[in-house]
Symmetry: C2
Subunit: 234 residues, 2 copies
Amino acid sequence: MTLDQRIRTEVEDRIRSGKWRPGHRIPFEHELVATYGCSRATVNKALTALARSGLIERRRKAGSFVAHPHVRAAVLDVPDIGAMIMARGDHYRWELTASRQDMKPTKFALEMMPDADGPILALAGTHHAAGEPFGAEHRLIDLTTVPEAADIDFSTVAPGSWLLGHVPWTDARHRICAIGADKPTADRLEIAIGAPCLQIERWTWRLDRPVTFVRQTFPGDRYDLVAKFTPQGR
Amino acid sequence: MTLDQRIRTEVEDRIRSGKWRPGHRIPFEHELVATYGCSRATVNKALTALARSGLIERRRKAGSFVAHPHVRAAVLDVPDIGAMIMARGDHYRWELTASRQDMKPTKFALEMMPDADGPILALAGTHHAAGEPFGAEHRLIDLTTVPEAADIDFSTVAPGSWLLGHVPWTDARHRICAIGADKPTADRLEIAIGAPCLQIERWTWRLDRPVTFVRQTFPGDRYDLVAKFTPQGR
DNA sequence: CAGTGGTCTAGACCACGAA
DNA sequence: TCGTGGTCTAGACCACTGG
């Protein structure tokens, strides 16, 4: 273990154990320099890392303080659906049920991707796990941002998998909610109308250009989102 | 803007714009030292930050490379429900409907908090927004880890708010799913039995000791989870 | 105004790993 | 082998800000 790691973990341990409560002033840099017998750069590196992770706050002239709990952030893995299904040992299949290329955004596309103004590729399909419908997907791809998508055969590769591997993106936004299945979705997923479903909508951008919008609908009993995380602010 | 920030953003811009594709070798540290006319420590600081954020990978002797997209991580804000409701301008009220202290974990508690072995505080209640039921909550608090909780009046303060401000935690896990409302939940939320609901379960630990388990159930039309994020690996 | 953290320098030694 | 990144040092100057 390096020295700056050691300083960081020793400070962190005192905070996580509650020995240093929120608001407590931790030793000045020059005090830690004396304690550890190292240079100020090393102490500074350790404390700067703690500040960046949100565990402490630093104020010039005043010192460094254990941060108060503030916003809690969860790290939520959102893997490729096909990879996820295969990872748990089930057979995966993507079924493309509709594909249409519009030169101008349709009403639905304008609503979901208000920044789009050129041609849009609209896809619909179903993810199958172990032969059973697993989730329904509606997707819009902005062909101005991703012209290559026009030439891809999305009946053989799921659009999510292809985009994941071929299109860099810089920002994304998720919306997660519970809805009752409507008639077309219920038919595609072979469930009852009104059955509770988890719906995930994701918008993806690349440098302020919209890349794709996707709405995925999963029967409530077939899909859980799981997130493990540690606090950002204390 | 500091020099290391400038180096970082200039490298980052080239990557995000696609000029440097995944796998591209970025200049060696000593080359950037010559380019920017600064010391190696400054270049190292910038590149180390980029590596920590997952944008580049660094290999001794070989150099630094633009990372390939790998796992996508979403940062999901999970604020205090009361604070969230008040933040959007609605009146918030917490209604405690049940409170029980068990010296030994009940069957339900053992299922949800298998590590618990001592007294458990079991609470149930409803969050109200603008006078309407907003979400139902079932909560277990491990009184061995959080003995202070035994003396708190949870009819006046929501347990989530109190725990958030008083109990440090080190790990948490979320599970998010869609379910149909059962009879008791439907009654409390004033919705139909079977109506789609978003259910969030959260386990919280402090240094391997269980702190609390909570199951929150929200009518599907009243609660969305929203997550904004940027990619970790490119 | 004085002391803190923020940043930077010009060196150094070392471990790793590709050649 | 030997160039790379990883880490560290002993200094320095400065901006900010609390007393």
